[in-house]
């Protein structure tokens, strides 16, 4: 029915693959910007296309653009620029392996969602699979990256995935909930960014593999 939503969802999924394949922190942030933009597009399109026209989705679209396309990535870049950092390998496995595993995650999310009764009829469809894969890949991204900023980006991708899932499956959560989620995400990122400063100050590095003193 809304075949361009399918296209968008695949593109969002694809952007997370690109994210997984990125090597530099700067390029993560860039990819994240693109992904957020795609999501904003989706929300906007949905806001226009749905029968009654959903104003709240348009507001959300704007919010996404302001927050996730402009504000948060800028902030991350600033944080990244201000902490001293030596370019080094940031991921724990080879990029190709990571990408292949990400593919497996897509298959897995199809595998787990396919039990749902009424799949591919109505609003439960491949878009959900795609957006759930984004969440899983985001989580996987967090696991695969050593630097603190990488983890923040991963967390943001998970949030993106969540939002897309909500968008595709239920055309967005109730507006007040959406708003709250955005505030939460913003606060979380601010706090995390602040912590990255502190970490870089205390540990002379933002490599979180060095945060391993608390054991047992």
């Amino acid at each position: 029915m809304f075949s361009y939503f399918d296209v968008l969802s695949v593109q969002i999924l694809f952007s997370s693959f690109i994210l997984m394949a990125n090597k530099r922190i700067k390029s993560y942030i860039k990819t994240f910007r693109i992904q957020s933009l795609l999501i904003a597009l989706t929300a906007g399109a949905m806001g226009f296309s749905l029968e009654k026209g959903r104003i709240d989705l348009l507001v959300v679209c704007l919010l996404i653009i302001v927050l996730k396309v402009i504000l948060i990535p800028n902030m991350l870049e600033k944080t990244y620029a201000s902490v001293e950092y030596i370019v080094e390998k940031d991921f724990i496995l080879n990029i190709p392996i990571l990408v292949i595993l990400s593919c497996a995650l897509v298959v897995f999310s199809y595998f787990s969602v396919s039990t749902i009764e009424g799949i591919n009829s109505g609003i439960i469809n491949a878009q959900i699979v795609n957006s759930m894969s984004v969440i899983l890949i985001g989580l996987f991204f967090m696991i695969s990256r050593k630097k603190a900023i990488g983890q923040i980006v991963g967390f943001l991708v998970v949030e993106n995935g969540l939002y897309v899932t909500a968008l595709f499956s239920t055309h967005g959560l109730p507006f007040i909930v959406d708003l709250g989620v955005f505030i939460d995400v913003l606060t979380a990122v601010v706090i995390m960014g602040f912590m990255v400063f502190n970490i870089s100050e205390k540990f002379d590095s933002i490599d979180i593999e060095k945060l391993n003193k608390l054991r047992g």
């Binding site: 039990t115 749902i116 969540l162 979180i208 945060l211 047992g216």
Partner: protein
């Protein structure tokens, strides 16, 4: 009345931002807590009278029933006691130059935002907002965990915020699925409303509900410290200042568990049987107890040990909820209450030990009973209490839960459950009992200022908690019993 609960902490936070005298800050803190406590009494009375309290204002999000009032009362009582305790505790910390005097303001601001988020999580009926509030608890408490800003505290806080955020994010996915399952059943204004979901539970799409439950279990389970998502908990609870540890262990975990219980109520109504949910919860619960047992056996840090014990007790509650008979739910709710009071008392006592000895290392702490006899006695009794020894309250709830397990014929489950609890006791006894006896060994004489001994308010708080857990071990007020029974009906459906 209900909005006082939400307004008071916010006003307090604003006041803190504008007042810089320490005595004033303490006063504001204690006053706010008192106001909250008094409000809680009125709301509890209301709930006892009418069963639930709902306001139409603000889109009718305010909703308190017997289940939430139980958890809410725990939050408010413990935060009241912790506020009193904090006064002298924080003063001592400043005197011992652990923290800068200016940071007290930050402490109180964060603490009351933290309390606000917890109150919010417990007083809304919209599960989405509940989620937001629970996520916000993480954010509010992250800087409380890293309050001492040393490397360990920072590490703990980072792990705390990352793991909990990820976990909670998964819970949001679960809530989205719950929403998805109900989208054809409910109307726009009812979306994600717990009472509406619960009422129409039979009509929801079961396969989506099942998927939703998994995400919510993992998500809120992370926050509740259920294994294997518990990994942040020992770090955060042991690095935070002791009053905050008491809040985290005694209160925050309950809020997350509350989210799980709410979901379970919907899912079990929807699926019509407990098999699906029960198996998962019991598995996770037993795994939590076992993990805690393994880690407690050789624990060298007493605050970490207490943190692991919290994991154990969350596991117990999860098992009890998993069993899902009236008796087990009764036990679970009772256990929630008992664990909160006992564990807060333990963390508060351990705070006094920590201030006295300046070390969390068990092997460097000796003669607690001589150095601080009253706190020491309370700490020792509290350890027995938390391990489930009568006449303390944890025994009563543990007994009810164990009986409920055996009642449904789960012999092996019950046996493993009880044996694992015994292993935990062995661990506590092996490691922790030794700090109480022997010659006193205070590492640094300077840190043992006499004021630490004359902290009457702190001792009083600990004694109040000790009294509560001793009395509720053999007797609970009829009002409380009624509340718990009502909550049991809410969860199971009468």
């Amino acid at each position: 009345m209900g909005f006082v609960l939400l307004a008071a902490p916010i006003i307090a936070v604003l006041l803190f931002l504008f007042c810089s005298k320490r005595t004033l800050q303490h006063t504001v803190s204690v006053l706010t807590s008192t106001v909250l406590l008094i409000t809680a009494v009125f709301i509890t009375r209301g709930v006892l009278l009418w069963g639930k309290i709902e306001y139409q204002a603000l889109g009718g999000i305010f909703y308190v029933d017997s289940l939430s009032i139980i958890v809410l009362d725990i939050v408010l009582i413990i935060s009241f006691l912790v506020s009193i305790y904090s006064v002298s505790y924080m003063e001592n910390e400043i005197k011992n130059e652990k923290i800068a005097p200016g940071k007290l303001k930050i402490f109180y601001v964060l603490k009351y935002s933290f309390i606000f988020t917890m109150i919010l999580a417990l007083t809304v009926k919209n599960m989405g907002i509940m989620w937001i509030a629970i996520e916000a608890t993480t954010l509010a408490s992250a800087f409380l965990v890293s309050f001492y800003s040393n490397r360990y505290a920072l590490e703990a806080a980072w792990k705390y915020i990352i793991i909990c955020s990820v976990g909670i994010a998964l819970a949001l996915l679960g809530i989205i699925f719950l929403h998805l399952s109900s989208i054809e059943v409910l109307h726009g204004s009812q979306y994600l409303d717990w009472p509406a979901l619960c009422e129409n539970a039979k009509l929801l799409n079961p396969s989506v509900v099942r998927l939703a439950f998994i995400f919510i279990l993992v998500g809120f389970g992370t926050k509740a410290g259920l294994a294997p998502m518990h990994t942040w908990l020992p770090d955060a609870h042991s690095q935070a200042p002791s009053p905050v540890s008491a809040l985290l262990s005694g209160v925050l975990l309950n809020s997350a568990m509350y989210g799980i219980i709410r979901t379970v109520a919907i899912v079990n109504r929807n699926l019509g049987s407990n098999a699906y949910v029960g198996r998962l919860l019991i598995a996770v619960g037993v795994l939590s107890i076992a993990t805690a047992a393994i880690f407690i056996i050789t624990q060298r840090d007493y605050k970490r040990l207490l943190a692991y014990s919290s994991i154990e007790h969350m596991g117990i509650i999860a098992v009890a909820v998993g069993v899902f008979t009236p008796l087990s739910i009764f036990g679970a709710l009772l256990h929630m209450i008992n664990h909160s009071f006992t564990k807060s008392m333990l963390f508060l006592s351990s705070g006094r030990v920590l201030q006295k000895y300046s070390t969390k290392d068990i092997s460097k702490t000796k003669g607690v009973l001589r150095v601080i006899p009253i706190t020491g006695t309370a700490f020792l009794l509290g350890l027995f209490a938390i391990a489930g020894t009568p006449p303390f309250s944890v025994f009563a709830s543990k007994l009810n839960i164990a009986i409920s397990i055996f009642e449904i014929g789960g012999f092996w489950l019950g046996a493993i459950f009880l044996l694992l609890l015994a292993v935990v006791f062995v661990g506590i006894a092996l490691n922790l009992f030794r700090i109480f006896y022997g010659q006193d060994y205070v590492q640094d004489k300077k840190t043992s200022t006499p004021s630490a001994e004359s902290n009457f308010a702190g001792i009083a708080v600990i004694m109040v908690l000790l009294t509560i857990i001793s009395i509720t071990g053999i007797f609970i007020p009829y009002e409380l019993k009624e509340l718990v029974l009502n909550a049991q009906n809410i969860i199971i459906g009468s």
